[in-house]
């Protein structure tokens, strides 16, 4: 673990800006960096403006929002659950969202806005079910983290079954569309979806930052947190719901993008941030940078095809788990 300095923040912001500009400038059609800046401001070649504003900018904005949302969700959950392997899709979010989307696909819906809505609804139902199951299974309703995690696994397993049944006899194009959605992509969202996502991320993120001190204390344990004045059950539940909201919003907009919410908080903690207020900000920044870079890679590694975003971020899982293994051994 290194000690963080204030210049680290400036560096992180700089890297983020550079990666975003690279994301906007790169693609099948060459747009020189100078033109990028001009196009963003609305001047210069019309086709460059169109490419920058309608093709590249939405992707970069979407990718940044997804990265920020997932990273913050992961950071909040890891602190509250006191577990470094917690991640945003824990409480059945990914399973529920996928069920929502796949069922929509199976009914022949292909409008991305409706799919997003269905995915979000699925995620919401799954999380509520997980909370209910945990409450029923746990002793007297105390939100023991382990019970909650198990409930999330149960819901996730059920969701997988539903997905498989829905896709079993579906026509090939439905399967392809559903699979593509599940592997995650920053390319299919409209500005409307992005707008709704932005509201969710900013709103949810702000609420989490408001609760950041509670997370600091919850990270000590439930009894120590109660001893320090936190209403443990209410705080924890609020944080779970906010984290799930962030995760569900990102899934609705872009499908399943794994490992970001798991890995980024570790990177930020390694960089020396421990209190959750700066940790959440740092996670948002680094998460955004990471996903914009991943989207860039997804677009440029195998032209003219586009790799799924989730596939690129999944590769990150490998070095991460290796590092965790070494730490544990």
């Amino acid at each position: 673990m290194i000690d963080h300095r204030s210049w680290h923040w400036s560096l992180a912001i700089l890297v983020f800006v550079v990666v975003c500009i690279a994301g906007i400038a790169t693609g099948a059609i060459r747009v020189p960096v100078a033109d990028v800046l001009r196009a963003l401001l609305g001047s210069g070649d019309t086709s460059s403006i169109a490419i920058v504003r309608d093709l590249r900018l939405p992707r970069v904005v979407l990718a940044a929002l997804i990265g920020a949302g997932l990273a913050m969700s992961g950071a909040a959950l890891q602190g509250t659950l006191r577990n470094g392997l917690a991640e945003p899709y824990l409480l059945g979010v990914s399973g529920g969202a996928a069920v929502g989307a796949v069922v929509a696909f199976a009914f022949g819906i292909s409008n991305s806005g409706w799919i997003a809505l269905a995915a979000f609804a699925g995620a919401a139902v799954a999380v509520l079910l997980a909370l209910l199951v945990a409450r029923a299974a746990g002793r007297g309703g105390r939100g023991d983290p382990r019970t909650l995690l198990m409930a999330g696994v149960v819901i996730g397993a059920f969701a997988n079954a539903v997905i498989m049944v829905s896709l079993a006899n579906a026509p090939p194009n439905t399967i392809r569309g559903a699979l593509w959605w599940m592997m995650g992509s920053a390319g299919d969202a409209s500005w409307q979806t992005i707008g709704v996502l932005a509201l969710s991320i900013v709103g949810g993120g702000a609420a989490l930052i408001y609760l950041a001190r509670d997370i600091d204390v919850l990270a000590l344990g439930e009894e120590p947190a109660a001893a320090l004045g936190v209403d443990v059950d209410r705080s924890a539940r609020t944080i779970y719901l906010l984290s799930a909201l962030l995760a569900a919003a990102t899934v609705a907009a872009a499908g399943l993008v794994g490992f970001v919410g798991l890995i980024v908080p570790h990177i930020v903690r390694y960089a020396g941030l421990r209190r959750h207020r700066p940790l959440l900000f740092g996670s948002a920044l680094i998460g955004a940078t990471l996903v914009v870079a991943a989207d860039l890679a997804a677009r440029t590694l195998r032209p003219p095809a586009e790799l799924p975003l989730g596939a690129v971020t999944a590769i990150l899982g490998v070095p991460f788990f290796l590092a965790q293994l070494r730490k544990a051994a």
């Binding site: 693609g27 099948a28 059609i29 086709s47 169109a50 490419i51 309608d54 093709l55 939405p58 292909s110 991305s112 006899n169 026509p171 090939p172 194009n173 392809r176 569309g177 593509w180 959605w181 992509s185 390319g187 299919d188 409209s190 500005w191 677009r299 032209p303 003219p304 095809a305 586009e306």
Partner: protein, 297 residues
Amino acid sequence: MPVLRTRILVIAFVALGVACARKDAQTPATSLTDDFGDTIVVGPRPTRIVSLNPATTEIMFAIGAGDRLVGRTHWDLYPAAAAKVPDLGTGIRPNIEAVLGARPQLVLLYASVDNRNAAQRFRAAGVNTLSLKTDRIEHFFRATQLIGLLVGDTARAKLVADSVRKSIESVRAKTSGLPKPTVFWHIWDAPLITIGGGSYMSQLIDIAGGTNIYGDRPDVSPQVSIEDVIKRNPTYIITGPEGADKIKKDPKWAIAPAVKAGRVIVVDTALVGRPAVRLGEAAIALASLIHPKDFTR
């Protein structure tokens, strides 16, 4: 002298070989090889046939053997009479039990890797199985010929094949002198899928007097990115009604010059859905859309 004797022997053997071969060529073929490399013996006229491929189902009806079908896939809906044939599910990884339950004497399969197991299982159960690729136009002609042979109606099969061939060739002739505009065929949106050189649809574009911008790709339905399409700047974009709707509404597609100029062609996907009997009609339809002024139907 040894060298001369060897030479005479060689000539004798070769002559014998040629005579034998000629003899073989005269006896009619009783077996054929399908696209999985399996050998099928042409047996007595089958009366119970299962077709697990929309293209072969259509061919069956075209050659007048549709009444002998006892099973089809869920998506075989042409011609309309096919609806009466029992639906046996998917054509890729078919339900072996359901198919065998229809007690077929012949099964027509699509020769994709996923179906190798099914082909083996059918053959192990003693059912003649013809596995064919139906991706390109030449596959259609081959399929028609082989199916005709197996169902015992080579004459009708030849008629159908010839009629389609004539249509196609007449379109090709009519468009041969015209300039070939570039075309992008929008199949699916998320992921963005188009047709590559390996597909009959790409061949249709060629016949109809256009150039598929992804004709250089050997696969049947490659995935591409919208930016790459815009970069290749097709003159026309062909799509079905749903795709046209999406393209109209999406600001990303609005960047493409073809969309800006309103050169989005909407085709009836049913017409071009599979490489079968209506290939000729499909070619005509496409040609009149790509070359509206030069081509009157």
